[in-house]
């Protein structure tokens, strides 16, 4: 698979480490009433869809950036690559 890095251009996926579902960006509020249940679900439960999946890839053997890659788990086709930082900020995270 080739991942089209937003800053570096097309790179071999072997340079990256797969870090799971991009929903992991949305860390639960530790002060919420339901924090224990929320963190259990955050830590352990996954949608694991067959089809399009937003997922985190860490450019470990590259520029160390984290990406959100939209990839089809049935075909391995990649339709979109964004910096995880931009995605996190667009969802209201400070960094």
């Amino acid at each position: 698979m080739i991942i089209d890095h937003p800053l570096l251009g097309p790179r071999d996926s072997a340079e990256f480490t797969y870090m799971g579902d991009a929903r992991l960006i949305d860390r639960p509020d530790p002060d919420a009433e339901t924090a224990a249940q929320d963190f259990y679900e955050y830590g352990y439960l996954r949608d694991n869809p067959a089809g399009w999946h937003d997922e985190l890839w860490f450019h470990e053997a590259g520029d160390r950036s984290w990406l959100v890659v939209t990839r089809n788990t049935l075909t391995h086709e990649i339709s979109k690559v964004q910096l995880a930082r931009d995605v996190a900020r667009s969802r209201g995270r400070s960094k």
């Binding site: 797969y18 799971g20 259990y40 830590g43 352990y44 996954r46 949608d47 869809p49 997922e55 391995h76």
Partner: protein, 416 residues
């Protein structure tokens, strides 16, 4: 029809006109006591033990394709019980004991060959870890033996024990481990279950569950609604897809694992050898092909095929430990979809929905577990209680901090 040597000779003398199909092809009944979803090794074994061991009646196995077309036909055929943790080792040893009596039990030649498995060690730390593992195995009634470098040299003279990077400092052997003709496991269980009255329904995909007031009443399928007192799911890599139809999110990711077989060679490799440090293991099939594999690709996939970086990584591992195998040509390679759980261990448990039961999360180790998985799932379905060897395989262990994490990797499925 009972298979025997006498029957083979009789058929040979009479033109092989007396053989009949090994299982029927029935149409589904409107209602069953127990419906098993998934006609793979685990599902068929479950149906077989439900009928045979627990005397259940009116059982169906639903398979969306053909039986044995999933991971039971896609693995590297190894059986062993060399686990460390209390939640696992009694279960896998139970499974190995079932393997030892399986062919007589279901009257089918599964070519079970206890040719032994050897885990190589290269450092003091690895030796300590494997001695501990061997002791845990012996404590649970399994066999284990630490071999010295000299013993390994005598048994496997082709191994280079003086390699600069990975000198072989010994190994943990389990002589009762070995290999099995994997397809025959599915066929043997199917034939055995069918003979006990189980309906095996192929080309019948489950499209949904009928759940009313927290109780599962049956399944919607491509052949219509099928009612069931209890529904058991055993669909391995498709677990998340199936259980999402019951609005469940599972503690697992589906990953692709590749495996490889070379052209047939004369006998060259006795037993199974694992080179854990190089992420490589290999055995030789009865047909002569070298059957080998390594790590999972490491990203979510339902594609049943992997990518080239892992092919290269596995072959590098193989060349590091068996340079001579570089002369063999690769015959086939394939990918299977692994239901990688969050701690690397399986789940055999009830769900929160009455009448709906789940068996999955086998990661890349489901084949060796087939008999015990079927037996324990049948026990759960028949008695509503966990089998004594499978009490740790609960859904709620993640919530309660009771993980069974053999590799100590945490909730990162691609590292197990």
């Amino acid at each position: 029809m009972r298979y025997s040597g006498f029957k083979v000779i009789k058929e040979a003398l009479t033109g092989h006109k007396g053989w009949t199909p090994a299982w029927r092809a029935p149409d589904p009944q409107p209602q069953y006591d127990i419906v098993i979803i998934g006609g793979g090794g685990h599902g068929l074994a479950t149906a077989y033990y439900l009928a045979k061991q627990y005397q259940q009646k009116r059982i169906a196995v639903l398979e969306k394709g053909w039986i044995g077309g999933g991971n039971v036909g896609r693995n590297t055929t190894i059986i062993r019980s060399n686990y460390l943790l209390d939640g696992n080792e009694p279960f896998y040893e139970f499974s190995l004991k079932l393997w030892e009596g399986l062919e007589q039990d279901f009257n089918y030649n599964a070519m079970i060959s206890q040719r032994g498995i050897l885990n190589l060690i290269h450092s003091d730390a690895q030796r300590d870890a494997f001695i501990r593992r061997g002791n845990a195995m012996i404590l649970n009634g399994a066999d284990a033996e630490m071999l010295t470098t000299e013993q390994i040299k005598a048994r496997y003279p082709f191994l280079n024990t003086d390699d600069a990077r990975f000198p072989i400092k010994g190994g943990l052997a389990q002589h009762r481990g070995g290999t099995v003709r994997h397809d025959a496991v599915a066929w043997g269980y199917a034939r055995g279950a069918d003979g006990l009255g189980v309906d095996i329904i192929q080309n019948c995909e489950v499209t949904g569950f009928r759940i009313e007031n927290g109780k599962c009443l049956g399944v919607e399928t491509t052949k219509g609604f099928i009612g069931a007192g209890k529904v058991g799911c055993a669909v391995a890599g498709s677990s998340s897809r199936l259980m999402s139809k019951a609005d469940m999110r599972l503690p697992m990711e589906s990953h692709v694992l590749q495996a490889f077989v070379s052209e047939g060679l004369k006998p060259v490799l006795p037993g199974v050898i694992t080179f854990g440090a190089g992420h490589f293991y290999c055995s030789q099939s009865d047909k002569g092909g070298l059957v080998f594999g390594g790590d999972i690709d490491g990203y979510n996939s339902y594609a049943q095929r992997g990518n080239l970086p892992v092919v290269e990584d596995v072959c590098e591992g193989g060349m590091a430990i068996f340079p001579a195998f570089g002369r063999a040509r690769l015959l086939r390679m394939w990918g299977g979809i692994m239901d990688m759980s969050m701690d690397g261990s399986p789940i055999i448990d009830r769900t929160h929905i009455d009448g709906l039961y789940f068996n999955g999360g086998w990661c890349y180790g489901g084949f060796k577990a087939t008999p015990a998985s079927g037996f324990c799932f049948a026990h759960l379905l028949a008695t509503d209680a966990a089998h004594p060897t499978a009490t740790a395989y609960r859904f709620d262990r993640f919530e309660k901090g009771l993980m069974i994490d053999e590799k100590g990797m945490g909730n990162q499925p691609n590292l197990h």
